[in-house]
């Protein structure tokens, strides 16, 4: 009985994991194909041509831009939030402002 229960749980989890990973598998699969092979569902031939083309264009620029933007946002929001949260939780301040701020 216990073993049967466990098997059923694992089967259910297996279906959920398959459902979760399916689009990711498919995207990687398509990215590794060139030309008309995109139409094949399972293929054994791989090519990194798409990735080569991507970096021959300005893709590294976009990566740098994204990283720059992300770090800048983090720094600014931390710089604003740390003093505010410190003063709201540790220093004396009117309760009205404290409650209003959290809303």
């Amino acid at each position: 009985m216990r073993i049967l229960e466990k098997t059923l749980i694992y089967i259910a989890l297996g279906i959920i994991i398959a459902w979760t990973l399916m689009p990711i598998y498919w995207t990687i699969n398509v990215s590794l194909k060139a030309g008309l092979e995109v139409y094949e569902v399972f293929s054994t031939r791989f090519s990194i041509e798409n990735y080569v083309r991507l970096f021959r264009e300005d893709f590294h620029r976009y990566l740098i831009n994204t990283a720059y933007l992300a770090s800048l946002t983090t720094v600014i929001s931390l710089a604003l939030a740390i003093p505010a949260s410190y003063s709201l939780s540790k220093l004396p301040i009117s309760d009205k402002l404290r409650r209003g701020f959290l809303v």
Binding site: K6, I9, Y10, A12, L13, I16, I17, W19, T20, L21, M22, P23, I24, W26, T27, V30, V38, Y39, V41, L80, A81, P83, A84, Y86, S87, L88, L91, P92, I93, L97, F101
Partner: protein, 284 residues
């Protein structure tokens, strides 16, 4: 006295930014919604509630409200139920949790653009994996994103794929906080699994369920990015949502007055939903 003034100085910058980025736009939207304001024609005159009346007469706006409500209700219900079911499954005494949980949370780490492109590939009529599986199993391939009846539900499916993990995580945290003794007592008393769920798990999880419902209904109500990327509101406006409607009137046709009025209606709807949820979850 001195520390008090320091504490205000420390709060001030973030308070100012928050006021500037939330309160100011709301007031601005309310102000512009009372005017006939179009950037293309250069028209700008006071028109009272005229824009609101015009909006409610616009069949496209009514359709967009209908679509948004259908999407929000089905997606929220599906994600909450699935998330709860998966959380209960993972919470059983099984091995390998440290591998299962990261895999299950994976979908939420992609940006919406990536998720939409991935699913566009999957749902492609001729070459997509989903239709391949359907054909393999002997079913007819379905026009997922190009049929009027299916497109909205395809987007529900994609949203469910992406956001169920968050529901799962919140429920899982909730389940972890339920003391084990309660379940041991239930086993001693010989309670059935269903009885255990309705008498222990459900009441203990109630605040988490309310939280997930609130978060998901607000977020699904604002649906814009997936529709914009996948269908653009089509086919035949069957996936037009309020956000997309506002975007088109405001930033494509530059009819600021009408778009402001629509934004204000949407804001009121979202506020109404959240107040309803918060009231009920605090009262219960």
């Amino acid at each position: 006295m001195k520390t008090r003034s320091i504490s205000y100085i420390l709060v001030l910058p973030s308070l100012a930014i928050m006021l500037f980025t939330t309160l100011y736009p709301i007031i601005g939207v309310l102000y512009y919604s009372l005017y006939s304001y179009n950037i293309v024609t250069g028209e700008f005159r006071f028109s009272g509630l005229n824009e609101y009346i015009e909006l409610l007469r616009d069949p496209l706006f009514i359709v967009s409200i209908r679509n948004t409500v259908i999407f929000s209700v089905t997606a929220t219900a599906l994600q909450t139920l699935l998330g709860l079911a998966i959380a209960v499954l993972v919470n059983q005494r099984i091995g390998g949790k440290e591998y299962i949980i990261p895999i299950l949370v994976l979908p939420n780490m992609f940006s919406v653009v990536v998720v939409s492109s991935m699913w566009k590939l999957m749902l492609e009529y001729e070459t997509g994996l989903i239709n391949y599986i359907l054909k393999f199993l002997g079913f007819q391939p379905l026009p997922w994103l190009t049929s009027m009846d299916l497109a909205l539900y395809s987007i529900v499916l994609i949203d469910t794929w992406q956001w169920t993990p968050i529901c799962f995580l919140i429920f899982y945290a909730g389940l972890q906080s339920i003391p084990r003794e309660l379940y041991e007592a239930a086993i001693v008393d010989g309670a059935s699994p269903i009885r255990t769920f309705t008498s222990i798990t459900h009441p203990m999880l109630k605040p988490y369920i309310a939280l997930v419902l609130l978060l998901r209904s607000i977020d699904t109500f604002r649906l814009f990015d997936k529709v914009y990327l996948l269908t653009g509101g089509g086919p035949a406006n069957s996936t037009e949502t309020i956000s997309l409607y506002i975007f088109k009137t405001g930033l494509v046709f530059w009819d600021i007055g009408k778009a402001s009025a629509a934004s204000f209606i949407m804001l009121t709807l979202i506020l109404a939903i959240s107040i309803l949820y918060i009231r009920r979850s605090i009262l219960s």
